[in-house]
């Protein structure tokens, strides 16, 4: 299949366009239906078919009763719907001339596999857009009634995921969490023991503040506050499951109080 830039496709491949097929990758936000944007609501109301994720709240789907609604949920580790198949079905629906919404929890641009879906649309010269959404980390901050960045303490915010592609090496957490940083870890609950151990081994103080927000903004929301050295035990004791955001704050004042993390240079 020849890949055309979308602009060329606009000019030459009019049949698909005439039929009006298009794909919107829509951020559904963190969960609560009222954390959808007005633009997302508009796309849902105009959709003919909506492909939605496991993490999208049923309430959100009530905004598009007119649309065919198709579940393409993936559970981590269980590939009910491989990404390639999702790419295929959204493209096939758009090629039929339908207005397609691919509804993704949070923001499509943050750990959302948007790249594959954008590429699939571009390959078939289908007009495609991203409708940005509120990411789960922002909702976690709101749930805690606390800013993700705190002037003078944490002026850097890192989004990372513990669930990498198979074959990828483990993230080098020592690189990620330096003094002055809030780490928002997506889907990290199952790997919490190893992540905590790696961070502490890399010199992050065990006293570093940890907040865990599961199912932020939904009726199932659950909050736990602890510190890095107690993180794994807290998750186990409180029976916290994904979807959850783990916020680990390595504040600058904390870095000054604690022993200099000599391990960092050695492992760099």
């Amino acid at each position: 299949m020849t890949v055309l830039p979308v602009s060329l496709a606009d000019a030459f491949l009019t049949p698909d366009r005439r039929k009006g097929g298009r794909i919107s990758l829509v951020g559904a936000g963190p969960g609560a239906a009222d954390l959808l944007t007005l633009r997302a609501l508009n796309r849902l109301q105009e959709a003919e078919v909506v492909f939605y994720d496991r993490l999208v709240d049923p309430d959100v789907l009530e905004f598009c009763p007119q649309a065919e609604r198709i579940y393409v949920g993936k559970e981590v580790g269980r590939h009910t719907w491989p990404q390639e198949k999702i790419d295929e079905v959204i493209v096939a629906a758009a090629l039929q001339g339908r207005r397609v919404v691919r509804l993704k929890s949070g923001d499509p641009g943050v750990f959302g596999r948007a790249t594959e879906e954008l590429a699939a649309a571009a390959e078939h010269a289908i007009p495609v857009e991203i409708v940005p959404g509120v990411s789960a980390a922002s909702a976690a901050g709101a749930a805690l009634n606390r800013s993700l960045t705190e002037r003078g303490a944490t002026d850097r915010l890192v989004f990372a995921t513990a669930t990498c592609r198979e074959g990828d090496e483990t993230p080098e957490w020592v690189e990620v969490l330096r003094p002055g940083t809030t780490l928002a870890l997506y889907m990290g609950v199952r790997k919490a023991p190893k992540i905590a151990a790696d961070l502490i081994a890399a010199g992050v103080p065990g006293e570093a503040e940890v907040e865990i927000v599961a199912s932020a903004s939904t009726v199932r929301e659950k909050i736990a506050r602890t510190c890095l050295s107690e993180m794994a035990a807290t998750i186990a004791r409180e029976e916290i499951a994904n979807p959850a955001i783990i916020l680990i704050r390595y504040a600058k004042p904390l870095a000054q109080v604690c022993v200099q993390p000599v391990g960092v240079t050695a492992q760099a």
Copy 2:
């Protein structure tokens, strides 16, 4: 002034509560009025007074014609409204029993000075909430029609600001941008020459992809694509001004192709 936990305040300081004063720190999103959330819209429609920022689009204010609308904008470097004064006026309005919206561009929890306003509200036992919003980086990704994270290339996303508190040392960019990272730099346009030079000195390849999105999602939106070594020249030539997001992608494959960044270990 005695600081009470909000829960205690709820129980004992009923007069303020009876009057119904409350503060919502509301994320206005990146600019476009339709990137507001439904919850933000609700808070605006119910507000009696709205304190808004320089970066909030005039369209957004049309959602709250009933409210008194007060501009508390700050320009970087020009302290028309110092933060302490903003804290004071929102608290004073809530203590009069009014429903106060503090409307902030993007997400209140990301470089939004929410901490100071939350603390001011808590000090006076005023009920306060954060309504999360779409951050400018998410809107920048949508404007580019590109994901902020790309599986296998960039599986980490760092939000940083070039505008630190006076007296804070310069961010150590070498710590921030490691292979596999997308750096979303807020308000970095003016410091672009120094940031680019520091990153390159730290071993980040000059070929690293750079995308700059000014005024994402608004009619003034402007996009430039370049590489790290050309970043400052591009910003100057295209006359790009804040508010802008600079996305710098240090993809893993790029790290493998380029010379090993020996400078990193030396400077760690």
